[in-house]
């Protein structure tokens, strides 16, 4: 059976970059930099990019391309190729489970961006005047409370259906005519929008009645002025490693799936460099400038620090609307800002559904259309509790277990399997196979030793700070506990369902393949 293929190399790179560039580039990175030493944060950040980020991109792309040669488009099948042991496919199932679970809430969050682009054009959130009121606007939109802005969740549900419908239509087109075409259209636009917004922010005048600190220069200084003491702080290194890991979208199983549609001898080395480069421009240049600089100009350094410490959603959906409504040309720039986030979102959403589509097509023999529609139905069902119970912490549970812990665990396990069970000799041969640039030999050592130890340390340190408080429901209000437990049950049921699907899928595939 001939596999689908990417039509162009640049199309593949843009699709990979589209998957990597998400809300985190524009909202999470500037907060991490500002809170962890400013400019000095860039030292551990670049070290981690070179020692973990780029090599892990190479490893995942190599595993994916190798899997593609064996007709495997999901990590459960690929891990069988790497390590011929009965349990390998159940470890690889994480690369199906994680994207599915995240898709259940990610498409919903992306749809908020589409809605806010619309609300920017029609001026719905203009004139709200305070962070509190902007917060109530979002809560009303999410259906968490009925207020003067929204009386029900219907508009949010409508925007979700539109966003999800778009995602499904793109996937029905397949790899080259669906995902690649989307990337060729959306990624250049995303960069154009971001550059326009950056120029707007860099030429902002302080608003009337502003304090002396509310300047663009102070905004840039807030993100970039170095605090050299931070370099000696292990927490800062952990934050840098975490940011690199999350921003490049490694540890999902998605890069593997995308790479499985490469030609057998296509390059992964240059592809990895290009993907990382585009992601870093979106993050360091554009993401580092737009959101926090506007926050400083409109609210001052003290308030911007408070906003940054509250989280990415507060920066994106509370502070940015309030800054945009005071900005000259705010409706247009608001629409650009939220469309930019929507493009960043939808190019990642399509990627999250593709591994399950590959499972249904390759293992169960479904044609593309039924495979896409079945996957869409499963994601749609999984999204319902997220949409209706968002005020009860349901989404946060899925994000914690699949979107954070799951990624770190999967990344660590795959690097162990790749370097120790598949073996570094064969692994290095895969990475350098067809390479269009010479991969320096030092990366052999980095992948064999620095990465397993580094990834293990990140997983341990992250778990030590986050896992026990989360398991003990320490931060969960009493009334929300049933919802949180329901989310955990859902996670277990989904994981078990994927294990069963992988088990029976492998059997069905073997039954169809002629005996060797």
């Amino acid at each position: 059976v001939s596999r689908e293929r990417w039509a162009t190399r640049i199309g593949l790179v843009l699709a990979l970059a589209g998957n990597a560039i998400g809300l985190g580039n524009f909202l999470r990175f500037p907060r991490q930099a500002a809170e962890n030493g400013g400019g000095a944060f860039m030292i551990p950040y670049f070290v981690c990019l070179l020692a973990i980020g780029i090599p892990l991109l190479w490893v995942e792309l190599s595993i994916g391309r190798l899997g593609g040669r064996h007709g495997r488009g999901h990590t459960a099948g690929m891990f069988e190729v790497l390590w011929s042991h009965p349990i390998s496919k159940y470890v690889g199932t994480l690369g199906l489970f994680i994207p599915y679970v995240v898709a259940c809430y990610y498409v919903f969050v992306s749809s908020w961006c589409l809605a806010y682009a619309w609300f920017s054009l029609d001026g719905s959130y203009f004139g709200l005047g305070s962070l509190d009121e902007v917060g109530r606007f979002l809560a009303g939109y999410q259906g968490v409370e009925a207020n003067r802005h929204f009386s029900s969740i219907a508009p949010a549900y409508g925007f979700y259906v539109v966003s999800f419908g778009l995602t499904v239509v793109i996937l029905l087109g397949g790899i080259a005519r669906g995902i690649e075409r989307l990337a060729l259209f959306a990624m250049p636009l995303l960069f154009v929008f971001a550059v326009v917004l950056m120029l707007r922010v860099l030429t902002l005048d302080p608003p009337p009645g502003a304090g002396p600190d509310q300047t663009v220069s102070n905004g840039l200084g807030f993100v970039w002025n170095p605090d050299f003491g931070a370099i000696a702080n292990p927490q800062v290194w952990l934050a840098a490693a975490g940011q690199i890991f999350f921003t490049l979208s490694v540890g999902w199983g998605i890069l593997h799936t995308y790479a499985s549609y490469m030609a057998p001898d296509d390059d992964v080395a240059l592809t990895g460099i290009s993907t990382a480069g585009l992601n870093e421009v979106a993050e360091v240049v554009l993401g580092g400038t737009i959101a926090l600089t506007s926050a400083v100009v409109f609210f001052g350094v003290v308030e911007a620090r408070a906003i940054a410490s509250q989280g990415s959603f507060d920066l994106g959906f509370h502070a940015m609307p309030l800054a945009l409504e005071q900005m000259p040309g705010g409706r247009l720039f608001g629409a650009l800002w939220f469309l930019l986030l929507f493009f960043a979102g939808i190019t990642s959403s399509v990627a999250m559904l593709q591994p399950t589509i590959a499972l249904l097509r390759e293992d169960f023999g479904l044609a593309r259309t039924p495979a896409v529609l079945a996957t869409a139905l499963l994601v749609f069902l999984g999204a319902q509790p997220v949409i209706f119970w968002i005020g009860h912490g349901f989404m946060d549970q899925l994000d914690f277990w699949a979107g954070s812990f799951g990624l770190l665990l999967f990344g660590f396990l795959e690097i162990l399997i790749f370097t120790r069970l598949f073996g570094m000799a064969r692994g290095w041969a895969e990475i350098t196979r067809g390479a269009r640039l010479r991969v320096p030999r030092v990366f052999h050592f980095v992948i064999a030793w620095v990465m397993p130890l580094g990834m293990g340390a990140i997983l341990l340190a992250w778990s030590a700070t986050n896992l026990l408080p989360e398991l003990g429901l320490e931060k969960v209000p009493e009334a929300d506990r049933p919802y949180v437990l329901a989310a955990r049950w859902m996670l277990l049921v989904v994981l078990a369902a994927y294990w069963l699907a992988v088990h029976f899928g492998a059997r069905a595939r073997r039954a169809r393949e002629p005996a060797a």
Partner: protein
């Protein structure tokens, strides 16, 4: 921005723009 802030900003921007420019230009040429 302080002088040190500018230096970090300029060096970091140059690195990532160089990385992306090099990667995308060579990828483009190969198609």
């Amino acid at each position: 921005v302080t002088l040190a802030g500018w230096i970090f900003l300029i060096v970091a921007w140059s690195c990532v723009l160089g990385l992306a420019g090099y990667g995308v230009a060579r990828t483009w040429k190969g198609d």
